[in-house]
Amino acid sequence: MKRTINLTLGRKRVDGALRKIFYATVVVFIISVVISLGLITYRLILKGTYDSLESREQELNSQLLAQQEKKDKLLEIKSRISEVRKILSNRAPMTVRIDTLSSIVPLTSQVNSLAGDDVDVQMTIESEDLASLSELLEQKIAELASDKKKGIKRIEMRSFGLNPKTLKYSISFGIEFI
């Protein structure tokens, strides 16, 4: 048997390793406790902040409640303005159609009837002056149709004749708008 063998050396190594593990776990434990305490404190601070915000909101709610009528009116005004815009931009341009068609009627002529909607309109004109009606057919209608802004798709002459009651020439057009 060798006398130089140290039987206590392994035991000491194990003790050292266990001591290190002990210190490490203590450090981890302390860090966990510190973090959890920090988080709890932070959460309490947040709760306090939320409570103060809640009370501020209550205060604002009571101020808004006092002006509820004014607020409702303002919201209604804004909502209705957008509806009014929608109506104005979408409504049939009947007055524009009337103006467009009235502009080509010769001064010596009379509009007997103007009927239709914003797409199809029928106009009947009566006149004693055949020359003015001829000018209307040959010149004015062509000018009107060529003006793209007027939005005319088609113009057709539906009838032409002499009215036996008034002894005037009567001409009828059908105008189709885009």
Binding site: F29, K47, Q67, I77, L114
Partner: protein, 222 residues
């Protein structure tokens, strides 16, 4: 008990790290992680609350800056342009005013108020305009000089409540117009509307009100 103390003394070096380790894990899962989740939720709630408060503060500030009379006047104007309901009296006044200003005689008008009973929803659909705003269809007859009966249509387009002429039949000395009178019941706003700050009227909205105000008392444009 003595046995336990004996075991503790004997195994102290192994037991203590185990106890601290388990305690750390316990703290991590039972305190740190739940607190972390709660803090995240609380932060989110605070952010939402803050934005709500900012919106409400802005709304209060705006409402305080607006004069009561101004808002009431604009509200009256806009509800005249687009009434809250089918207001027959308002329509009658409008037609009478337009007729007297354009020097035509109002022959009469028939109002389609609405169905008394309808099993299907077809009737309701029929009353909805293309724009989504309900309206009341009225057939108006006027008589007078040809120029004036045409002017009557123009006057209708520059007056309130807002109208749309659907079809016309203008004769030499009379005319019949099929007119839509628009109206709109009060809209129901969602609860969430409180979290959005009120905005003042924009320039274009003020311009629109100005235009409508000018129609209230202006003579018809020739």
């Amino acid at each position: 008990m003595k046995e336990l103390q004996l075991i503790y003394r004997k195994r102290k070096q192994q037991l203590l790290p185990l106890i601290f380790g388990f305690a750390s894990v316990f703290i991590l899962f039972r305190i740190v992680l739940p607190q972390w989740t709660d803090i995240q939720n609380a932060l989110q709630l605070i952010t939402t609350k803050n934005s709500t408060i900012q919106a409400k503060e802005a709304s209060v500030l705006l409402l305080n800056s607006l004069p009561e009379e101004g808002v009431a006047s604009d509200f009256d104007l806009i509800t005249t342009a687009l009434p809250l309901q089918k207001d027959i009296i308002l329509i009658f006044e409008e037609l009478n005013n337009a007729a007297s200003e354009t020097d035509v005689d109002l022959g009469g008008f028939s109002v389609k108020v609405g169905g008394i009973y309808s099993a299907a929803s077809g009737q309701q659909k029929k009353e909805k305009a293309v724009t989504g705003v309900p309206y009341l269809s009225i057939l108006v007859s006027v008589s007078g000089e040809n120029v004036n009966v045409r002017l009557f249509a123009k006057k209708l387009y520059q007056s309130m409540p807002l109208v749309e002429i659907e079809s016309l039949d203008v004769g030499r000395n009379d005319a019949r117009y099929e007119v839509k009178f628009y109206y709109k019941p009060v809209s129901i706003r969602p609860e969430k509307a409180d979290t959005v700050a009120l905005e003042p009227l924009t320039n274009s909205e003020n311009d629109m009100l100005k235009t409508l105000r000018s129609w209230q008392s202006s003579p018809v444009l020739q």
